[in-house]
Amino acid sequence: MTPEPTGGDRWLQTRPADLVAETLSDETLVIDTATGVFFSLRGVASVLWSLLERTAEHEELRAAVRERFTDAPSVDADVDAFVAALEADGLVVESDAPRAGAGASASEWPESYEPPVVKKYDDMADLLLVDPIHDVAAETGWPERRPDNR
């Protein structure tokens, strides 16, 4: 499905609460600790994520990729689809302005253009969200979930 066109002058940022992200080699891993859903970001997505952690304009994301990979086709569409996917899962939200203290360096670009890809894994959400006190069975304790919370 083709994503809806998004505006080029919106400030965007990663959601300030309940996200834990870690970039490891060619992949950025994100856990939404509120939902237990896990995301894997690959390609130029790691660099875009680091820009979004600092807050970025939508058009700034496109321009950064175009500038780095001048021959790459469909950069704008790839970035738009990526941003739309992040917004759909609530990983990125609109921002009024750049964050105070922004300026951390971006992740390293891959050597060749690889479209930004986000893969979503929700099959472990139940386990990641098990709360050892609130969700466990009274007698057996964590990690057994309370029967009424299964």
């Binding site: 834990v20 870690e22 490891l24 891993l29 386990l127 050892p132 609130h134 057996t140 304790g141 964590w142």
Partner: protein
């Protein structure tokens, strides 16, 4: 007629603050002459590169049996700077609270300094001040302590403290020998405990049936913490020589202790196996290697309790799981009741 102002609802943050303040008072008191001192140290053991000291003004020494297989440390032994956790174990009136009771209900709260988990029915408080390596484990009425507190004591405290010393509590079983173990991972009820007990009975060393400590690194190691095991009724009925005392059976679960001499305290991780019931119970058990990406996803939930250590623990676990998935072979094992073959396949993964 005088009108009273409407009562403002108490926010989660305010409730959390009250819970943390309550624990702070107790830990401060335990740090003074009122609380258990070095002379009250009843047991201390080494768990990998760390030392756990138990100080008790309580009759809860029965809770220490699951640790009896671990190398012991005597009180005041010099530890060469190894990280230490001191757990104050107590029951009766809550110490240091001037007669006040812990907040009722379920609470699990942390800030940069303190972690506390409170439950009731019976009232239990597990709290930790990470920076000082001091914790409290309190049960109001020890006669009503649920089996998990006797067979997996202090799990809340361990999960919150170990990330601070670069280790993680895993929800995994482990069997093998001192040269290497296989980590058995999987959801509750997938067969981890049954497989680990079967392997132990077949001669492999038992390191854990449900919880073990991971020390990440270039050669990741796991350390035993409990020698307890728990089998569900159907497994307990099929696995020979499993005898849970009447008081150690709860609903369908049978708790028991594995013999000291059948355990191993520590070993490098040689393989990971995700166990699961076979789709066809009459088929042969099947071992199949998985990709690095699949291995990572199988591993991720095993440190699900790292939430007790906050965001830093999550990041630590993401890096650790990623590194393990890169370097350690991983498999899925479809389980059936052809138990001899199941053990053979675990040995095959160890090779």
């Amino acid at each position: 007629m005088a009108r009273t102002a409407p009562r403002q609802p108490v926010s989660a943050a305010e409730r959390g603050g009250a819970v943390l303040a309550f624990l702070d008072t107790a830990l401060d008191t335990l740090g003074s002459a009122v609380g258990p001192a070095v002379d009250d140290e009843v047991f201390a053991f080494r768990c990998g590169p760390t030392i756990v000291r138990i100080r008790a003004t309580s009759a809860r020494t029965g809770e220490l049996r699951p640790f009896s297989h671990l190398p012991t440390v005597t009180p005041r032994t010099a530890t060469h700077g190894d990280p230490e956790l001191v757990v104050h174990v107590c029951d009766g009136p809550f110490p240091g609270a001037d007669g006040r009771r812990p907040p009722s209900g379920f609470h699990r709260v942390r800030d940069a300094r303190t972690f506390v988990a409170i439950t009731d029915g019976p009232a239990i408080v597990d709290g930790l001040r990470s920076s000082e390596g001091r914790a409290i484990s309190w049960i109001e009425d020890v006669a009503h302590a649920p089996p998990y507190t006797r067979f997996r004591p202090f799990a809340e405290i361990f999960s919150a403290w170990f990330p601070a010393v670069r280790m993680l509590l895993l929800h995994a079983a482990a069997v093998g020998d001192a040269d290497g173990v296989v980590l058995l991972v999987g959801n509750g009820g997938s067969g981890k405990s049954t497989t680990s007990v079967l392997c132990s009975q077949a001669g492999l060393g038992f390191l854990a049936d449900d919880f073990c400590l991971l020390e990440p690194g270039a050669r990741p190691r796991v350390h035993s913490i409990y020698r307890s095991a728990k089998l569900r009724g159907d497994s307990a009925g099929r696995v020979p020589d499993v005898h849970a005392a009447r008081g150690d059976r709860v609903d369908d679960d049978h708790y028991f202790l594995v013999d000291d001499d059948a355990t191993i305290a520590s070993a490098p991780v040689r393989a990971i196996i995700a166990v699961r019931p076979a789709p066809d119970a009459t088929a042969a058990p099947r071992l199949e290697q998985v990709t690095r990406d699949e291995s990572f996803r199988l591993l991720l939930p095993t440190a699900l309790k790292v939430a007790s250590g906050g965001d830093a623990a999550y990041r630590f676990w993401l890096r650790s799981a990623h590194a393990i998935a890169e370097s350690i072979p991983a498999y899925t094992l479809d389980l059936t009741w052809d138990t001899a073959r199941v053990v053979d396949l675990v040995r095959e993964a160890l090779r």
